[in-house]
């Protein structure tokens, strides 16, 4: 009895919000293991919302595009609960995605696919997501699969002339998968891997790990989140002099790393991230918008987040109504590589073309964002090194 009263009150409170808005759910891991990575991503989603509403909102009537945020905590239990509420209570048209791969797969399989709601993930990169669906076409992502990034990193290492390495990865869903792809490709192409060990995230000390790993090589491929042990491991590796060269991926790419370790110590550290080709007009448009909003245009998954929120709005506009069933088709229509090119922020232009019945093709800050049959996008990757106290990325050809 009490619980039903409670949920009724909660429901009523939610209903009392304006009903004419076009609502999109945005489960983000605001708390959980990587809050600091997620915060700028959430700001990018909000930025897209702002741009759309400033330029006329949704549909001919100018309805407001509303992002309903929920906390998915990187945790399947919380993610499933959050998305259940978004879909059933808030009545969102689509989901602009959970952050972690585990949370994304769980919420998609458990809630959003059965409900027929499109999920457009902003950063879930697990290869398992590609072939997750059977018979439906509801899961898309704006971030490239790890399968690509691991390969890109392995090729970067070989191109740099690094022929032997040790691999250390944080034992979590993201880093373990990436390390596996990297190690396989690196070894298959002539690199030698001395040791490939997991480390438990968030330990106070990794000195014994780095000593063991560094016994036979000076080069370390490090897959970790900077916020949960990555910085400590690098610091221990530098203090003991075990490694001189560091390679790694997104999880370590943060200003925090430079602030804590000091730029002078990071001369031989290179981290890749899925990025945008900076020569494209899409990136130019995005970086101007990001700069105006004080966002780092190359922050990990920040452009992807903006693109996802923007594309979801474009798809709804294209579909012509806030009808869940039409979104997947419309998303493919705006992300199939043909039609008038729309750059980040060009909402008014896109709206006009759609109203006139034309085709559009969104080219985002993180890449052209053309979906393949699995709803995946190809990605460009950049290698970042420290220059003048900040990370400077350069695209890997």
């Amino acid at each position: 009895m009490r619980k039903s009263i409670y949920s009724c009150i909660a429901a009523l409170v939610v209903v009392s919000g304006a009903n004419a808005d076009v609502k999109v759910g945005n489960p983000m891991a605001m708390t959980g293991p990587i809050p600091d990575l997620v915060a700028p991503m959430a700001l990018a989603v909000d930025l897209a919302e702002k741009h759309i509403n400033e330029q006329g909102g949704m549909f001919a009537s100018g309805e407001e595009y509303v992002i309903v945020r929920a906390d998915s905590m990187c945790d399947p239990v919380a993610g499933v609960d959050a998305v259940t509420k978004l879909i059933n209570v808030s009545g969102v048209v689509g989901i602009v995605g959970p952050v972690c791969s585990g949370g994304t797969i769980a919420q998609a399989e458990s809630v959003s696919i059965p409900a027929g709601v499109v999920t457009l993930s902003v950063s879930a990169s697990a290869p398992a997501i590609s072939n997750m669906e059977t018979g439906t076409d509801l899961v898309f992502r704006t971030a490239a699969s790890d399968a690509y990034q691991g390969v890109a990193l392995a090729e970067l290492a070989l191109a740099k002339g690094i022929t032997d390495m040790s691999v250390s990865y944080a034992n979590d869903d993201y880093n373990a998968g990436l390390a596996a792809v990297f190690a396989e490709h690196y070894a298959a192409n002539g690199g030698k891997i001395h040791l490939n060990e997991a480390h438990e995230p968030n330990k106070a000390s990794y000195r014994s790990e780095v000593a063991t790993l560094g016994a036979n090589t000076e080069n370390l491929a490090l897959f970790a989140y900077y916020g949960s042990g990555g910085i400590t491991l690098m610091r221990n590796a530098m203090e003991t002099g075990a490694f001189s060269t560091f390679l790694g991926a997104d999880g370590m790419l943060a200003q925090e790393v430079i602030d804590q370790l000091g730029a002078e110590n990071l001369t031989n550290a290179t981290f890749t991230t899925s990025t945008s080709d900076e020569s494209t007009p899409g990136y130019a448009a995005w970086s101007a918008l990001a700069a105006a909003a004080d966002l780092n245009p190359l922050g990990p998954f920040v452009p992807n987040s903006y693109d996802a929120a923007f594309m979801m709005a474009l798809a709804i506009e294209k579909a012509g109504s806030a009808n869940r069933d039409l979104i997947a088709g419309a998303l493919r229509a705006i992300g199939n590589g043909s039609g008038e090119v729309i750059l980040p922020g060009e909402w008014a232009k896109a709206k006009k073309i759609i109203a006139a019945g034309g085709d559009i093709n969104y080219n985002g800050g993180s890449g052209p964002q053309d979906f393949d049959a699995n709803g995946d996008v190809a990605g460009d990757f950049s290698a970042s090194v420290v220059k003048d106290g900040v990370w400077v990325g350069k695209i890997i050809k």
């Binding site: 809050p35 000195r207 014994s208 003991t240």
Partner: protein, 316 residues
């Protein structure tokens, strides 16, 4: 490459193990005293460690902003100690004291709840992002490096580790003096050994409990600050991650035995680091992924084989 140093085991396994052990030891002192005197496992102890480090950082940042120079962590830790002791008193008065006569389980649950409350308060106040405690990397002390290097047994220990090890020795010696020679220290030991007998001899248990919180709080803040000095950053779960190894240390040493806790902390710290030493061949003996399991395994084995611990502490 390590063979050239000749002293790989000491530098990369033994000394780090001791440093980690010192931090465990300081935290375990508070746990073992609370366990021995108040008779419950205080799950909120790790959070007090963490909060102490946060407060210390805040004081450093404040002086940095006001006067342009940041206080040394050890000096900034002093007001932090007083604040955390106050926190312990408040928590004890409002959340633990109502259960003094109730079954232990209630107060353990209450401490579990306090763990969540304190941690979420810190997360709300300071935010969940990690904070830089000390910038840069700590190079090995060059004097000792040169000195020992010339004797062919190069020791690579950064200053922060000397600070932690030295600080721990000083604190343990002060504690030893307190427990052996002062009235209140003797009373604490008496209550820990036999509460009923202590009551008969006219010891005021509430005073002893307050003294326990003071000693435990001071050691917890020291442990938290040392931990922050070592990893050079702050994050909100750092206390909780230390909690189970600290329990393990307290049990290993014997409940209610501060020296046992120190020894237990050192053993647990060493065991964790040495478990991944390549004893056989090139690969780590135990995958570092299992590292945190080492402390738990020792703890469980100890609980089963000899629950009174090395120093023959209390069993309940």
């Amino acid at each position: 490459m390590w063979e050239s140093f000749g002293f790989e085991f000491v530098n990369f396994y033994f000394v780090p193990g001791i440093v980690l052990g010192c931090i465990y030891a300081l935290g375990a002192i508070g746990i073992t005293l609370t366990f021995g005197i108040l008779r419950f496992a205080n799950f909120a102890h790790g959070e007090v460690m963490m909060t102490g480090a946060y407060v210390t950082w805040t004081i450093m940042a404040l002086t940095g902003a006001l006067f342009g120079w940041a206080l040394h962590p050890l000096i900034a830790a002093i007001p932090s100690v007083f604040l955390m002791i106050l926190v312990f008193f408040v928590v004890d008065r409002f959340f633990y004291k109502p259960f003094r006569k109730a079954p232990t389980i209630k107060v353990v649950m209450a401490s579990f709840g306090m763990m969540l409350v304190i941690r979420s308060l810190v997360q709300i106040l300071w935010g969940p992002n990690q904070i830089t405690f000390v910038k840069g990397i700590a190079k090995p002390n060059s004097f000792i490096r040169e000195l020992t290097g010339s004797m062919d047994m190069m020791i690579l220990v950064p200053n922060k580790h000397f600070l932690i090890m030295g600080g721990t020795v000083v604190i343990v010696m002060l504690l030893g003096y307190l427990l052996t020679y002062t009235r209140i220290g003797k009373a604490m030991r008496a209550v820990s050994d036999s509460p009923d007998l202590a009551l008969v001899t006219g010891i005021d248990v509430e005073v002893v409990i307050r003294a326990t919180w003071i000693v435990g709080g001071a050691c917890a803040v020291a442990a938290g600050v040392f931990l922050a000095t070592d990893i050079q950053m702050l994050e909100t779960t750092m206390g909780f991650r230390m909690l189970l190894p600290m329990f393990a240390a307290a049990i290993l040493g014997g409940i209610g035995k501060p020296y046992g806790a120190v020894l237990g902390g050192l053993v647990i710290g060493l065991a964790e680091e040495l478990s991944s030493y390549p004893w056989i061949g090139d690969a780590p003996l135990l995958s570092p992924g299992y590292k945190s399991g080492v402390a738990f395994s020792i703890m469980i084995v100890m609980l089963i084989v000899r629950p009174s611990g090395i120093f023959k502490g209390r069993t309940f």
